[in-house]
Symmetry: C2
Subunit: 457 residues, 2 copies
Amino acid sequence: MDDHITPRRVVILGGGFAGLFAVRALRNAPVAVTVVDRCAHHLFQPLLYQCASGILSSGQIAQPLRAVLRRHGNVRCLLATATDVDVTERIVRAERPDGGKLALPYDDLIVGVGVKQSYFGHDEFAQHAPGMKTLEDALGVRRKLYRAFEMAEAAEDPQERAAWLTFALVGAGPTGVELAGQIREIASHTLDREFTSIDPSQARVLLFDGADAVLAAFGPVLARRAARTLHSLGVEIRLGSIATGVDERGLTVRRHDGSTERFEARTVLWTAGVEAPPLATALARATGAEQDRAGRIMVEPDLTIAGHPEIRVVGDLMSLNKLPGLAEVAMQSGAYAGRRIRHAVEGRTRRPRPFRYLDLGSAAYISRGRAVVKMGRFHASGVPGWLIWLFIHIVFLTGFRSRLGALISWAVVFASGSRRERAFTSPRSQTAEADAASLSGPPADPTVTRHDPPRPA
Amino acid sequence: MDDHITPRRVVILGGGFAGLFAVRALRNAPVAVTVVDRCAHHLFQPLLYQCASGILSSGQIAQPLRAVLRRHGNVRCLLATATDVDVTERIVRAERPDGGKLALPYDDLIVGVGVKQSYFGHDEFAQHAPGMKTLEDALGVRRKLYRAFEMAEAAEDPQERAAWLTFALVGAGPTGVELAGQIREIASHTLDREFTSIDPSQARVLLFDGADAVLAAFGPVLARRAARTLHSLGVEIRLGSIATGVDERGLTVRRHDGSTERFEARTVLWTAGVEAPPLATALARATGAEQDRAGRIMVEPDLTIAGHPEIRVVGDLMSLNKLPGLAEVAMQSGAYAGRRIRHAVEGRTRRPRPFRYLDLGSAAYISRGRAVVKMGRFHASGVPGWLIWLFIHIVFLTGFRSRLGALISWAVVFASGSRRERAFTSPRSQTAEADAASLSGPPADPTVTRHDPPRPA
């Protein structure tokens, strides 16, 4: 209709916590919002490890973005990967899954595409040691975990069996700690009494980190308590150790004193560092923005890029005052960016305040009944920590249909150790043939093993 | 212990309904059972389409085989693909996922590995038109379905958009009918109000079959009622039509009168025929057993292979009296085979009765509140049919933890059309880069599309 003024066009790259909270801050504002994400879902990343460990289903942690945003009349969602930004013409270039190109003009741009796993220059590790950033990652880790026990059961050689029952995690931040706890719980509670040739509870879980503490970001008191809890679960913590080699059969680490050690571990998981995706470099080049060591974009106190008041960077990709890559930072920065645009559209003239992160605390779940929580100077661990963890996650799951489902799943795993979402698929396959073909990777043990069945009970 | 007599070794190939019921029939018998399956889960195949359509999670239809069998003390489960049978030495040869070889000696062998999708000599169709036999298939179909709507939303060319909104199903048996109904329900109820550029309810669903009726196996009365229900849902039924070509952009069909027609449909699903897997040919060659046209093994009235009283074939792979490939036939034949071995071990000398299938009826769900049910001469359709369908499936899900979960999911989708398990992954990918690389297939529309965002509501 010609008598309409074209509304201000806001393009939001990324439908994670940052993007979602930006959209919410723009609710009912007279703007036209386009949300671009390479996934069709919004991922509840803090619970990704519970999908990997078989507690939660993919649908419980990944909701369709457009279903979450269905009541936002000014929003359009597009499934595409942003590849570049033309800051002169103010156009985002993106690619659809089938290779089709899109050009998205904007008046305001919010970039919240997050970060990806970093292998610190060793991208060749990725094929053997998957990270934990996407739903694909979580389902891949689930397959690796549960298949390792199956492989151990079918192995005859004791060394091979031991290697299948050894799990190595590189990086003792929250994800590494949470996964380490989960694997020991799976081994000793979930798989209890299911195997005949192996004792799953003998599974070794090795947790490596280059630093001198687990959960270093939680401070020394909680770090010590977390280490104690992990130790009592049977997790072997190896600090001051950097992974220098990873292959399909295990990993090699180097210690601070220069000595190296080799571990035969058929399952190696990477929970170490993060780095910015290629779009960040493209954006930095186009705008002249600086990037920090991990490639994150340095922003002004109002989250804009210097010289580009129309471009805001939010969430994990934003580099500002060394703020950590937490869901809470993403939510608050996304909401701030959205609010700033709404205020501008509403014609507010008061000079806006810079972004200020309100630290609501952080929490890491270690095992059932045990978590560590840090809220400013307040600390909690053990059962109190776990109760706070539970409360926080139920509150944040609000608005998701999955809240009840997650509560039921948590109750079941807490009471019985049983995990309802253990099903895994074969890598790349559709038919029996493809299956056989794709599964016959490098023959680890070409000798024929004769299996005499167990004696009856 | 030397004073033990080595127990009779029973090897069961396949952990589907047939294998599971064979194991159950052998419960507490003094035998040593080994169950071999290429998947670690038992799949509740009749509800596979509900996993594909986003109602149920993978864990709700796929339970770990060893968890299901944990209380069977005489059973060992192995994750491996049986590749051949040495009937002279009585050894099954199998391959582990890492390529390691296994040799499994048996005294009794029960073969229940099922059948796979058949493309009637056109295996090249498979890459464009996935079947519906495995969990991988279901998750692949889920991705195809929901991504098609996303692609339509991002498409600018009306013809391309229409092609993305056209879904073709080849084969109007229960799976084809159920999926056709699901897609129309997704289009008109689930995705309602989520899109801005397209109207999902305009999605065309074409159901092709070479025969002259849908659900031909249910008889003319129910076939007519099913066709009427499908028609009222908006499914376009094209009978007497055989697919002669399938590619990434659509399919070509030939009618009985020899004329051909081309349909632009970006989503083609194959729900037509089945054929025996390679193991069946290996087994037939080794035993001299005959195979029917689909490659299924012809068995004696006691389900053994002629001349091999120690080998029984059960479930979908068994060819006997033209029994259909139904879960109920698999359960009964598996249980019969297990019972026969138990009786032999127990030393019963009475000449056993041949296998007799007791037809408990079959049911197909068409849409919410509508199903067709056939039990001998008893027929039901519409709401009564749906209530019977619901009752049967709840009964058969007994023993699965998922029963409550499935009931909740069905209640939600019935009441609101909302599907909780819509999350899909990208094909083969772990990182953002891999994603971009693997997704950029053949460029369907290389022109750059300029997207002006929608006007605010």
